[in-house]
């Protein structure tokens, strides 16, 4: 019997992680990621998914050929694509017996103390019920990260709001993950799902970690 603390993990998935270079969705990679996440959840750890992909799927759904430059068109594509994205996750996770919930946030929301309290309560409740929250930037109301096209800033802000211990960044390269612990500035790289799972199992913390995640993703990866 282990008396280890159940640590909380956030996995951050970008557009590039789950797409081919021609901009269409790589269903196999998405499926592999969902299987990995299901294993993490089934092993008793708490996991939150921050996933991009709405613009990717919206563009595909609406059969748009060129990259949208106009911001309101981009936002509209994201509103359409988010519906596709969440359905995709529901379908895959359903196979692995997982329930999902959709959470749309902005970094600004988490700076507001009453909103932050609500976000903590909702996500805490979901994790208690073993439901996997799928978080994305609420592009309809915020354009912070739609311009950045990277959800690392949102991931870090959410990790701080929820006292997340570990951030996993699913890289652009298939089966390559950067694992970032709150108490270390250096990311550990894992080269397969299995390697990642055993790494997480070996950590075995007694309590949650203290420290700060680097704000800039660049700082972690250059080591």
């Amino acid at each position: 019997m282990s008396d280890n603390y159940t640590f909380k993990i956030l996995i951050s998935i970008s557009d590039k992680t789950i797409s081919f270079t021609n901009g269409t969705i790589n269903q196999k990679t998405l499926d592999d990621l969902c299987l990995l996440i299901s294993d993490i959840n089934n092993s008793g750890k708490k996991i939150i998914v921050v996933s991009a992909g709405a613009i990717l799927l919206g563009t595909q759904m609406l059969k748009i050929k060129e990259r949208a430059e106009n911001i309101s068109v981009k936002q509209a594509i994201a509103a359409v694509g988010q519906v596709e994205l969440i359905k995709n996750y529901q379908n895959i996770f359903n196979i692995y017996g997982q329930n999902v919930a959709q959470v749309l946030l902005t970094r600004k929301m988490m700076q507001n103390s009453s909103y932050a309290k609500n976000i903590k309560a909702t996500l805490g409740e979901l994790l208690n019920k073993n439901i996997i929250p799928i978080v994305n930037e609420n592009d309809s109301v915020s354009t912070d990260d739609i311009e950045l096209e990277d959800n690392y800033p949102l991931s870090v802000k959410l990790a701080d709001t929820l006292n997340i211990d570990i951030i996993i960044i699913a890289s652009d390269i298939k089966h390559k993950f950067h694992v970032l612990k709150r108490d270390s500035l250096k990311a550990v790289t894992c080269y397969s799902s299995n390697e990642l799972l055993s790494y997480l199992d070996d950590i075995g913390y007694k309590k949650h970690l203290s420290g700060n995640f680097p704000i800039n993703k660049h700082d972690i990866l250059i080591n």
Binding site: Q75, V80, A101, P133, S140
Partner: protein
């Protein structure tokens, strides 16, 4: 004959939890389907429709196999996050059968009150409509709890009508409209066909409770009407049934019309 209604082009339609679910809170798919079919017809007629739909908490409760009504606020929020994913998926499916795309927009009161985020939301709605996509709006219950606590999106739908510069808001629920007295108490109560302004007497009439799962009574609807009238937006309260929207747009005197 309500001529102005027949000419409305930009329309917000809000449907309440009770209209699309069974009394136990689970979804009534037939009702949603006929609602979607009716919206599809309006879309085909060239009208720009924005939907505001409640119902996520009930769907989440059904998904999790809850037989009781959730009580704790954080539990309701969690169920809303689960249920919204399901609810939007059902709308997506039914609209797809009509070859119509939908976009999901989750809002809070603060978003609308803030100039920058309101502008962003407005841009998104305009972008969607310009592309022939139907926006489906709900409150973002993960971050805001106002409409969970009271109103079932009545207030949000008025804000959306203003934000999107629509000419008409239709609130569909399980009540026919505004009555001269509480129809549950006095069977002789009369349905009021048109209200030109929200007087003290009208506000007095609105004090009553909503159904078990929905939280919107007449009070939040009257408050919504007040907001709309201030901006010269017409509003109709009507009981949802199949084809009711078609009849409304024929100019028939259905429900209560709020118009100056």
């Amino acid at each position: 004959m309500r001529t102005k209604i027949t000419q409305a082009k930009n329309i917000v339609i809000k449907i309440g939890t009770s209209s699309i679910s069974y009394p136990n809170g689970r979804l009534n798919f037939q009702k949603i389907k006929s609602f979607v079919d009716d919206i599809g017809n309006l879309h085909q007629d060239g009208k720009n429709i924005i939907l505001v739909s409640s119902g996520a908490i009930g769907v989440g409760a059904g998904k999790m196999g809850l037989s009781r009504k959730p009580e704790r606020l954080s539990e309701k929020q969690a169920l809303a996050a689960i249920g919204q994913a399901e609810l939007i998926n059902i709308y997506r499916k039914f609209f797809k059968e009509l070859s119509i795309n939908v976009g999901q927009v989750l809002l809070t009161k603060d978003i609308i009150n803030n100039e920058i985020t309101a502008k962003n939301a407005q841009n998104t709605l305009q972008g969607l409509i310009a592309m022939g996509i139907i926006p489906i709006i709900n409150e973002n219950d993960t971050v805001s709890t106002e409409e969970i606590l009271i109103g079932d999106n009545d207030s949000l739908s008025a804000e959306v009508a203003i934000l999107s510069q629509s000419e008409l808001l239709i609130i569909l629920s399980d009540i026919d409209g505004l009555y001269s007295e509480d129809p549950h108490i006095n069977p002789d109560a009369m349905l009021i066909k048109q209200v030109h302004e929200i007087t003290n007497e009208i506000e007095k009439l609105s004090k009553g409770k909503g159904s078990a799962f929905g939280t919107g009574g007449m009070q939040t609807k009257i408050a919504a009407a007040k907001k709309c009238l201030n901006k010269d937006i017409q509003m109709i309260i009507a009981k949802f049934e199949a084809k009711i929207l078609q009849d409304i747009f024929k100019g028939e005197e259905i429900g209560t019309l709020f118009s100056k």
